[in-house]
């Protein structure tokens, strides 16, 4: 129940813009999706790619993405637990959107004071 969706389209035309935004907004969702475009990943694999995201936050974001039908969560009933995350078709359909965001960002977002390519 992290956020209320689809119930306050009180913004007049352009709503679907905000609507889309609500799916990919949230501190880490964009990046998580971005990484999942590369393929299925396990929880800790994602985690290692986001060293500054806490476990709790990652869980939250993944849960929201799952609730939104953008990613799928597959649990293997093993004893060191194993959970894989992958994109659903709906999630994959976001690719052009993420790409558009990335394209604009690459051109317009100065990567801060850093070296402008060291986004490790």
């Amino acid at each position: 129940m992290p956020r209320i969706r689809d119930d306050r389209f009180d913004c007049s035309p352009g709503c679907t813009v905000e609507g889309t935004l609500r799916y990919i907004d949230g501190k880490w969702k964009g990046v998580v999706l971005y990484h999942l475009f590369e393929g299925t990943l396990r929880f800790n694999e994602i985690r290692r790619r986001l060293p500054n995201c806490t476990q709790r936050m990652l869980t939250n974001q993944l849960r929201e993405l799952e609730a939104d039908g953008l990613i799928a969560r597959k649990i293997y009933p093993q004893v060191p637990p194993k959970v894989e995350y992958s994109l659903t078709p709906r999630g994959r359909s976001l690719e052009p959107v993420i790409t558009a965001l990335k394209t604009w960002g690459d051109a317009n977002v100065a990567l801060g004071p850093q070296t402008s390519q060291a986004a490790a």
Copy 2:
């Protein structure tokens, strides 16, 4: 000083996605930009298009957009004040992004329980 930008690209690859997001995120920014794509608008013209946005919020969002160099604010020193908002080239360059968001949203965001066309 509403938010810190360009100083916490602590997210590893995909940063520019989040970076772009930070520009257009904020409850009403998407819609404001959307309306400004149509052309220059005065403060109250925008306001009338966003009946559920308070004056304070609108001012805030416009200020942030201006600070980000996405819109320009032109003040006419008249006595019933007149202020016009328009897109800068940088702002206009966001058009493909907003379009991508809108395209996906139109296809994937059910406009809630409402009539699905009465987004007035």
